[in-house]
Symmetry: C2
Subunit: 147 residues, 2 copies
Amino acid sequence: MSAAHRTFLLPGEQVEFEKTITAADVDMFAKITGDYDPVHVDGAYAAKTAFGRRIAHGALVMGLLSAASATISRWSVERGAAGTPVSAGYDRIRFVRPVFIGGTLTARYVVEEVDDAAGRTRSRLEITNQDSAVCLVGTHILAWVVA
Amino acid sequence: MSAAHRTFLLPGEQVEFEKTITAADVDMFAKITGDYDPVHVDGAYAAKTAFGRRIAHGALVMGLLSAASATISRWSVERGAAGTPVSAGYDRIRFVRPVFIGGTLTARYVVEEVDDAAGRTRSRLEITNQDSAVCLVGTHILAWVVA
């Protein structure tokens, strides 16, 4: 095992992060990223779509999982990791239900595989809404980068 | 073919979207999503990591591809699509290089597969920085949702 890449994490460790998505969040995300798709930012347009109202950007919703992974990263560093844990990628992200403005989301991040030699973890992602309906599923990879 | 799901897109169509990532973008993304990982928001902490300075959140960088896909969606609607194109998912996203504050990114979105019966496209994603170095690769799925 390369001690330099040790993650100090264990399979089964998990973090939940809850947040209500506001209209300001969606408008600000559009401004930051340049994604002004009217289904996200134009209520009159969105009302005429199958959704009936504005929906949050997928990448904004993914940000809540990023927040959950930040807690996992902090645990790793506090426990003595030499490397810096950073996002290495996402696999098979699926937006299975739209997220509406005012929706309260719970992002769940569950470590599933830990590779302390390579400095990598794979974690299961799930976001549910205020009705406990699943909005997003997927997998996230964290990698420990050493100077 | 279900006319309801027709995408009006063709394999090979592509969009490029360019943006410079500012410190304000990263700080605002942290505020919106709750991801205050110090490697993103704390310059003093980031200086001591392998990166040497603050890096942008992966989900923020993905937002530029969301902006590119919004242009593709607009083309589809302007050409007569009955359904609303929305993000259905991402496959095999890999952050192959860090994105620093001040970096100017080019997000390239290339439609590769079009399924007009199902109302689905798969597109190749690539983000390069100001030195033409690849920072992100992956695949995006758009789905046409009918009322």
